[in-house]
């Protein structure tokens, strides 16, 4: 076998072993999930409708399976849970008054949703810089720090979302809703999910050199978020319009963002591919080229990521159709958002076909993945900004 393949194999990391999947910690963790599920059920089931109960019941084995599939997520979720509980405790021990977030130290500087998002933003930007720094000085340690920063950013991001969920009920029980219903909120969801999907791939394929590229997209999302926060004051928690009051939202939106996140990741890997390939043609021995994963590796990662995104985007679109059937009276209305989701889907279906049936690889596919991000971004952001339709809820 040639050397390219050797480095390739080096980059390949095995899946977690059975031991890791079902370690003692894993068992404890699974028990904790069950206990939490039962506790939530006992505490809140009278407030839930049948679908929400189904979601809760489904979430328990879902989380256990997720933990077995990706052991690292266990510690992450425990961290988020601990921080969230701490934040909730801060509120509840002060009369559940949302205003105490301006007085209590922990809330004001760490755990209120707004400050958690600020921490997330800062950590992500630092992580991006860290990854690039590690790539240029070729320091393993710096890379590890960047990975740690990304984990920390994602922790604060998800914690912030949980706190925002709680705070929405504190402001007014009527307003309470899962924070995935406005552009502001889904941007946070996007940056959390993209970071997590990346961390999964990083761990599985040892691709730390790609971190900077992927985190660049996340940093761009953070930049948008900061502009949206400070210029537009979009962070205010608003009550939901009637069309959004549906349990389907809790499934449809996260599934969608798994898709968007994975597509964004594929695009950035595509960008890294193109840069590496171009440099490798000019200077095959440059340190940069050596530091990057092999081209085959990146090509494969692009495929893996798009396949993952496509699978979840398929589910999301179907869930969206089911929801639309319930909210608007038709599973398909050719509403702009819906239609653009279809365009994104068709785009990646074509990408997958050409790869699978015609064996296309390399540069054209990398370019396509990169352009795919534009299409995806338009579906995600452009439709909301430029086109009107049922998704903007202008009418009802």
């Amino acid at each position: 076998m040639n050397t390219v393949n050797d480095t390739y194999a080096e980059h390949m990391q095995t899946n977690p072993t059975l031991k890791e999947r079902f370690s003692l910690f894993g068992i404890v963790w699974s028990l904790l999930v069950i206990v939490t599920g039962v506790a939530v059920w006992l505490d809140l089931h009278t407030y839930m409708d049948v679908y929400e109960k189904a979601i809760l019941i489904g979430a328990v084995p879902g989380l256990i399976a997720l933990g077995a599939f990706w052991p690292s997520i266990r510690l992450y979720l425990l961290g988020v849970a601990a921080l969230t509980l701490l934040g909730v405790w801060q509120y509840s021990s002060h009369g559940n008054d949302v205003k105490v977030q301006e007085q209590l130290f922990l809330l004001k500087y760490l755990l209120s949703s707004q400050s958690a998002f600020m921490w997330m933003s800062a950590l992500y930007v630092l992580a991006t810089a860290g990854y690039f720094f590690a790539l240029f000085i070729r320091s393993e340690f710096a890379g590890k720090v960047a990975t740690g920063l990304t984990w920390a950013g994602a922790t604060f991001g998800l914690t912030g979302m949980m706190m925002r969920w709680y705070e929405s009920y504190l402001i007014n029980p009527d307003y309470g809703h899962i924070p995935i219903s406005s552009l502001y909120e889904v941007f946070i969801l996007f940056s959390v999910i993209t970071a997590l999907v990346y961390l999964y791939f990083e761990q599985k394929y040892r691709t730390r050199a790609l971190g900077g590229f992927v985190m660049l997209v996340v940093s761009a999302a953070v930049a948008f978020l900061l502009w949206y926060t400070f210029d537009r004051e979009a962070y205010h928690i608003q009550p939901l319009v009637p069309a959004l009051k549906s349990y389907w939202m809790k499934l449809h939106v996260p599934a969608n963002f798994l898709g968007y996140g994975a597509f964004a990741l594929a695009a950035m890997v595509g960008a890294a591919y193109l840069i590496t390939d171009t440099l490798a043609r000019k200077k095959p021995d440059s340190t940069f080229v050596k530091a990057m994963p092999s081209l085959e590796m990146m090509d494969e990662l692009m495929y893996k990521s798009i396949a993952f995104g496509f699978a979840f985007f398929t589910i999301a679109t179907i869930l969206g159709a089911v929801w639309a059937a319930e909210a608007w009276g038709g599973y398909w209305s050719w509403d702009p958002k819906e239609t653009w989701a279809l365009i994104v889907w068709l785009n990646y279906a074509a990408w997958l076909h050409l790869r699978m049936t015609k064996g296309w690889r390399g540069r054209p596919m990398a370019w396509w993945a990169l352009v795919g991000l534009l299409v995806t971004t338009f579906a995600f952001l452009g439709v909301n900004m430029f086109l009107s339709g049922l998704h903007s809820y202008g009418k009802l």
């Binding site: 390949m12 009637p242 009051k245 590796m297 239609t339 074509a350 076909h353």
Partner: protein
Amino acid sequence: MAKPVSRARAVYDFFSSMSLAVTLLVMLAIASVIGTVVKQGEPYQNYVVKFGPFWAELFEKIGIFHIYSTWWFVLVILFLIVSTTTCVIRHVPVFLRDMNSHAENLSRTALLHQPNHAEVACTQSDVALQTMEAALKQEGFKLKRKESERGVMIAGMKGRWNRLGYFLTHIGIVVILLGAVVDSNLMLKYKVMTGQAVPETRDVPISQINPKAVLPQDNISFRGSVTIPEGQKADFIFLPYDRGYFLQQLPFEMIVKKFHINYYDTGMPKDFITDLVVRDKATGKTVEHTLRVNHPLILGDIAIYQSSFEDGGTQLQLKLYPLTGAETQPMEMTSRIGQKEILETTQGKLRFEFDDFKLHNVVPTTPEEEKQTGRKMHNNGPKLVYKIRNEQGTAKEYETYMLPLKQQGREFFVAGVRDSVAEPYRYLFIPADEKRSLKRFMAFIELLNNDQKRLAIFAQYIKSDPQFSKLSVREQALQIQLWQNLIRLFRDAGFKGIEHFIKTNVPEDKQKSIKDFYLAQLTDGLQVLYVEMLKQQGRIKSRDELTDFDKTWFEDAINAVLALPKFGYPIFVKLESFKLLMATGLQVTKSPGKDIVYFGSLMLTLGVFLLFYVRQRRVWVYFDKSTTSDNGHTVVIAAKDNKNTPEMEKEFKRLLARLQQTCGGTP
């Protein structure tokens, strides 16, 4: 040249080709993009305004405005169904064979052409084969052992369901599209093409609708809506079609008892709810239901949704104040939203069209108000939207608020006017008096309009004022005349009127000083009028009693008078009271294809996961008796993954290591 057989083959090849599939997908995508960029299904006039008559006509012809129901779009979908179906048919034998065969008949050379392969020298090939068999089994491979005089072949396969994934995805897509076709209006289109059905394009009462535009209740699928006012019922819906509509009869009657909107404390709507009774026409059975957004009512194969709302004919009690007449006695009027009233005026016959009424009008608060109240939203209360149309047919659109609105701490009656829907409203702010009414303003306007009344006030004032009463009669008359003229100029054309008068009547070198003098006189005159008016009303006894409120009111009133000429028709419509009547917009659908679509979706989802996450892997371990070497035999091991993934390489290395271990040597 082509023989019939090969022609059929060519058609088959064409339909099952990847190029056709990708072309169709691209066409679908492009049409979809156009459909999202050009707003679909708007009134044709809007397009003419937007694109001009030529392009609008052309676009209409190729169906840009109804892109998703044009024949060519439907054709693309049908082609996609055919293409995907033929593609599946074409792959069935190949993939089935692939799923079921272990490929145990491959030759040694064929194995050496696999993506992963190696040759290992083996002293104890039987043991090696057995060990590998056990190892592969443990890893989940299904094995097939073939022994012949030439050697022993162990062929393993894993993940054959991957192939099933292909079938599930592609058949799933076909099923979804078929379901969508069932729910589309293809049948109706066919009826329209053959003249069996004709859409109605006129805006006529139900009873006068063309019978060919009325669809029987057993239509297989439909999706339309109807607006029903509270207390009324309907047993039909409207299906929009091109520039017209069809009337779809329903097997039941929908009786709307009440429509409500629940609000958040911000004033934003929280829920839209219809109290509905549905009575089956055949059985007479009734169902009562509270219909809400996201909670449809399902009745067999028909579903009813809360989709919109509008005014259902709210009763209006109005007062119409003339703004230019010498009398300002308002005229009382009773009407309803949706009605038109004709009024004879000095400007000819005017038609009042009462278009809409909104009970709550929530707007963002100003930053100052937010600081005071902590609220981001503010409710301006009831609002009436109406048009005044003249005999030529041109109309001005108005909106007017029932209650005075707060602006910088003062209260105003606010009414807006515009010449077309595309323009923003220009607002008139009439200051409310101390009783939050229009009375003081109307009295003041009356004085400005009525020369006689004004004359009387001035005459009396001049006599009683110590300063003016000293003047000669002629001087007094001149003073009054000056005021009268200035006020008339001001009323008709504002400050500009006075400037214009000076420009045309005064020599240039004196213009500036005269202007200052006139403006001072005008202010005096207006103030005198105002103070005397308040005295007559008994509100004050002397000028010293004017409060700050009175003073700012005066300034606001002057500004309002200045804005009057831009208000269009000089009639102020004041909403005195109303009796709210809402109408609910219900969407009714019959979509038997829905379950087909859901079933197809399930297939698609399953298929996608099988395709992506089940790898079909093959491993061959072959002991070829003919290839004995010095230290025994060689065993060939090869592996393949239908996706050619890098994982395979790793797995192969592991298997190879295992083989080498049992063979007790290195290759």
